[in-house]
């Protein structure tokens, strides 16, 4: 299983829709301070079902909606779609290509879709449960967070081995 692509619209600083196609090897994301690079990894965490606004650097979930600039007004929703190739069926679902979509409106209402089929947040969590891509996995290391791996107090370490087991 690997990431094919990502689409963002209205997510944080990505007011206009953008899409990325990932290399099967190494994809680098570069740019000046504050340009939006970490916002892209926030988008991936979010579409995979992140529930903590704090992990996404906000105070509430609606903080991920583009909130305007001095020249543009805020948008009414944020939407992210992640496309994965699933020929090995590592995701326990019949499809060979899986598109996960998450959308949130300024009203607070949320929508979740798997291959355009509405589902619950719970279904997205269950889909990725055995892939190590969950929130306790080591698949996403945030900015400034690499040293945390060294603080192996017994609670943290139990997590490493339980995740790894």
């Amino acid at each position: 299983m690997y990431l094919k692509g990502l689409e963002l619209q209205g997510f944080k600083s990505f007011a206009d829709k953008i899409s990325l196609d990932f290399s099967s090897g190494v994809t680098a994301i570069v740019g000046p301070n504050g340009s939006g690079k970490s916002n892209i990894s926030d988008a991936v965490r979010w579409v995979l079902g992140e529930q903590s606004a704090k992990t996404l650097r906000g105070a509430k979930m609606e903080d991920v909606i583009f909130n305007g600039t001095q020249k543009r007004s805020p948008l009414g929703f944020a939407e992210v779609t992640l496309v994965l190739e699933n020929k090995d069926h590592q995701l326990p679902i019949a499809f060979e290509e899986v598109a996960i979509t998450r959308k949130v409106f300024a009203s607070g209402e949320s929508q979740y879709l798997i291959n355009q089929s509405p589902c619950r947040l719970k279904d997205i969590h269950e889909l990725f449960m055995d892939t190590g891509l969950g929130r306790d996995g080591y698949s996403m290391i945030g900015q400034g967070k690499i040293e945390e791996i060294l603080s192996t107090k017994s609670e943290d370490r139990r997590q490493i081995f339980e995740e790894a087991a």
Partner: protein
């Protein structure tokens, strides 16, 4: 339960000893349980010895040595518990240029089995990439994306 834990611990430890030496170009490192009688609850010590130096507490290591040790441990965990892809956001910020190249080469090799998406400011890391996306804010506050070639990036 205890056995499964112990087995996983040994596996991560074995990988860590290797990844450390690969990234530091020498030295040695290992994980040690603080209480072999109570492995499900005791702490873990991380013993690290950069090349030529003596074994010392992790806290005395430099910022860059700690970051590189953390990266070695991360890769040991990833080898024990592979994930299909891995997103890294500026994890090599504290490394000097020589160490950035060691890190970049390591990722390049590892990327045969695992897909990496790396946010970076460092040239060495960019050179290991197959695809580079540039994020810009020509219109202030609004992000745009464009695909880049290495030779288009200044610096």
């Amino acid at each position: 339960m205890k056995e499964q834990f112990s087995e996983k611990f040994e596996q991560i430890n074995r990988y860590f000893k290797t990844t450390f030496v690969e990234l530091f170009g020498g030295g040695s490192a290992e994980l040690a349980l603080t209480d072999a009688q109570n492995i499900l609850e005791c702490g873990i010590n991380i013993d690290v010895q950069p090349p030529g130096k003596k074994l010392q507490s992790l806290s005395l290591l430099s910022g860059g040595e700690r970051a590189l040790s953390a990266i070695a441990l991360l890769f040991a965990i990833l080898r024990t518990r592979p994930t299909p892809f891995c997103f890294l956001d500026e994890i090599e910020a504290a490394l000097d240029d020589v160490n950035v190249y060691r890190f970049a080469d390591y990722v390049k090799n590892y990327s045969k089995k695992t897909q990496f998406i790396i946010v970076t400011h460092r040239r060495g890391t960019m050179e290991s990439a197959d695809v580079i996306y540039g994020v810009t804010m020509q219109e202030k506050g609004v992000s745009k994306l464009l695909q880049l070639n290495l030779n288009e990036i200044a610096g």
